[in-house]
Symmetry: C2
Subunit: 216 residues, 2 copies
């Protein structure tokens, strides 16, 4: 059954690979599954037809036969459950990998997205400069804890798994903010993720959609 995902027709990050379809592309590349991409405009994402697929009008949507999924975390988990390569086979280790998936998206990502979003939406407000150190502090607290856990390890648990995939995409959101420079082991960890051949293929595919001006 063929897999189709949706992605932005007009990349808000200009092809930097931060849009959330990147997680799904990467996961599909890790498990060796081909997929098609349907590019959608922001206007299309507000239409009832798209809302029937994605109640919150975001990308990516994942379609496989009659199955329609949304939320990048759920889609990555579905892919990881359906095809071997992204979750350990032992049930306990598999459950640990789940903890890291949720930690990436619920504990580490939210303060990073808050800084991103408020910079975008409130960057010109008088209060933004005053709030920035508070937001950075919240991010650094999580990075301190993550670095303490990771130590000198390559991955969050014994082997690369879906939790690492999500965590690396979350850490990439910090690029250009100057924060990750203070966490060399986390920066190295992110590079370990992004130099995986599957990541590289996913990035190239996402970039190609951007570079073609959203043709596809």
């Amino acid at each position: 059954m063929s897999i189709t995902i949706t992605a932005f027709r007009n990349s808000p990050d200009q092809g930097r690979g931060l849009a959330r379809d990147m997680r799904v592309r990467w996961a599909l590349e890790e498990v060796g599954q081909p997929y098609r991409v349907r590019l959608v405009t922001f206007a299309e994402m507000r239409e009832p037809e798209y809302r029937a697929l994605h109640p919150f009008g975001q990308i990516p949507v994942y379609q496989e036969g009659d199955l329609v999924l949304f939320e990048s975390g759920a889609i990555v988990l579905h892919i990881a459950s359906r095809f071997p390569g992204l979750l350990p086979s032992d049930p306990d280790n598999r459950a640990r990998a789940l903890s890291w998936m949720f930690a990436a998206l619920n504990t580490v990502e939210p303060p990073i997205v808050e800084l991103e979003q408020t910079t975008l939406l409130e960057g010109d407000r008088a209060w933004h400069a005053g709030r920035r150190p508070l937001m950075e502090k919240a991010i650094r607290k999580r990075l301190d804890e993550l670095a303490a856990w990771l130590g000198e390890g390559d991955w969050l648990e014994d082997r690369f798994a879906a939790g690492d995939l999500l965590m690396v995409t979350v850490l990439r959101r910090l690029e250009g903010m100057g924060i990750l420079d203070d966490y060399p082991t986390l920066a190295d960890y992110a590079v370990r993720g992004t130099t995986r051949p599957a990541y590289q293929r996913a990035f190239a595919a996402q970039y190609a959609a951007y570079a073609s001006g959203g043709e596809g």
Copy 2:
């Protein structure tokens, strides 16, 4: 194998049932599994011994034999995967339930937590009154979308599932903010969740720990 979870010795919300062990208690009650609770202080949560169980020093931790899990979403998913009652048996419907679990925690909850946290930590700053409408707008956008999806339905999909469990605990965080009053179908939906016998038992157990002054 007996199940033990951790919870706050001193309830920050004074027994209102918003601490994240509530989700896990509720899930365990839904599937009919007994559990023990280990109450921990904020000081204990900062200790290396606790950090070995939970890298981010939060509650709840879930222990079952040698298995140690953290992140309430991951724990609820583990419980739902291990015991019948919280996920559909059909694989496609099961995957849909996952989408709702992640949507609750990654799309609906973050703007609510931002309002909560900034009210707590920045409530006395000059900018807070100016930011509040922006934060409320972000919450209302998600509630509009959620209400549009739910329509007149009882649950997010055909039957009550783990995604509803998480979504109801997320909506409960809005109590007392006056926002949910504008969304009668969502308020009813939350009540449908909190009047379930399993929720009531979970709430009573969490409240009892609070009312005993954290003895337990």
